[in-house]
């Protein structure tokens, strides 16, 4: 039984298991709530939660007519699910590691977090202009053969590849 526990909760899953479950979520979200899989609009719900009386047009558009709404529960669930995964997998409760980045760069945690915040800013702004992120466009949109998702995904991958090249050469010193 020990081997079974480890392969479910400790060792990383093979790619096809993850792809299978994430793929099933697309029709399952429609079947249960008639909703498209998507995450990035949820950050608008977070703002709605922090500033419920904001008069900004976008924060009062159709996506937020119920207030912060269901998206907060979906995003909260995602944090909870990963928390459960880390606990059952025996991972540390808190860690400042970020893979090869923190292993190579010897910045303070605050400086590292600020650098990642710049990345987050582009993620948030870009996803809204594109109308979705990896979940909404690249998984849900491509699964439903939507042309705008093809365009957005080409943008994600092209800029992601180029930016990672710059990070590799100029920040990680060409390592990796």
């Amino acid at each position: 039984m020990n081997g079974l526990y480890e392969s479910i909760f400790v060792n990383p899953w093979p790619w096809w298991v993850g792809g299978l479950i994430i793929g099933i979520l697309v029709p399952l979200l429609y079947y249960s709530e008639n909703t498209a899989l998507g995450v990035s609009t949820g950050y608008g719900s977070v703002i709605k939660l922090l500033r419920p009386r904001s008069r900004l047009k976008w924060l009062n558009s159709k996506s937020f007519e119920e207030g912060p709404g269901w998206r907060i529960f979906f995003l909260g669930g995602m944090i909870l699910g990963a928390f459960i995964s880390a606990r059952l997998g025996g991972r540390p409760l808190l860690t400042g590691e970020m893979g090869i980045f923190t292993a190579t760069v010897s910045w303070s945690p605050l400086a590292t977090a600020l650098f990642f915040a710049v990345g987050g800013f582009f993620l948030g702004l870009g996803a809204r202009i594109a109308g979705g992120c990896t979940s909404g466009h690249s998984i849900h949109g491509l699964a439903n053969l939507q042309i705008s998702s093809v365009v957005a995904t080409i943008g994600f991958l092209a800029a992601g590849t180029f930016t990672t090249y710059l990070v590799r050469v100029f920040i990680l010193g060409g390592g990796g």
Binding site: W58, G81, A82, S85, G124, L125, G126, T134, T164, G176
Partner: protein
């Protein structure tokens, strides 16, 4: 089961899966974009194919939700600015080694640097709301 409970459970499944398959690992995103580890590319390709045939199956079964409503898939509009947004988002993906979904899995796992990425995401989304206020782009 209520709407919010359903979203909480499905979100938990999503976050758990992202964490177990390693989508919350900086190195796997980095490996995908440098071509040295394509695990996450295969995860996405599998998810797209399964999602596609899952939707076909749902339609074959009558295209109804569990409450009997007709399933409605709204196409995201293609605008000339979609590619610009895609490129901006991609820059963020490369810089942070996360996307708006996987960063939540990072936080849940206790990777506190993710708080920086999330703060940036909220700020970037707020900036979009300010741009909509000034510009002619219709709120979406």
């Amino acid at each position: 089961m209520g709407r919010n409970t359903t979203f909480l459970i499905l979100g938990t499944v999503f976050g758990f899966t992202l964490s177990r398959v390693g989508a919350s690992e900086y190195d796997l995103i980095y490996g995908m974009f440098t071509g040295t580890d394509l695990t996450l590319a295969w995860v996405m390709i599998t998810a797209i194919i399964i999602g596609h045939f899952g939707m076909r199956l749902l339609n074959l079964a009558g295209g109804k939700t569990r409450r009997g409503e007709k399933v409605s898939v709204k196409a995201k509009p293609l605008k000339s600015i979609t590619i610009v947004g895609g490129l901006i988002m991609g820059v963020g993906w490369g810089l942070s080694g996360a996307c708006p979904g996987t960063v939540l899995a990072q936080l849940g796992e206790g990777k506190f640097i993710a708080l920086g990425t999330i703060a940036g995401l909220v700020l970037g989304t707020y900036t979009y709301a300010l741009l909509v206020e000034r510009g002619s782009d219709s709120p979406g």
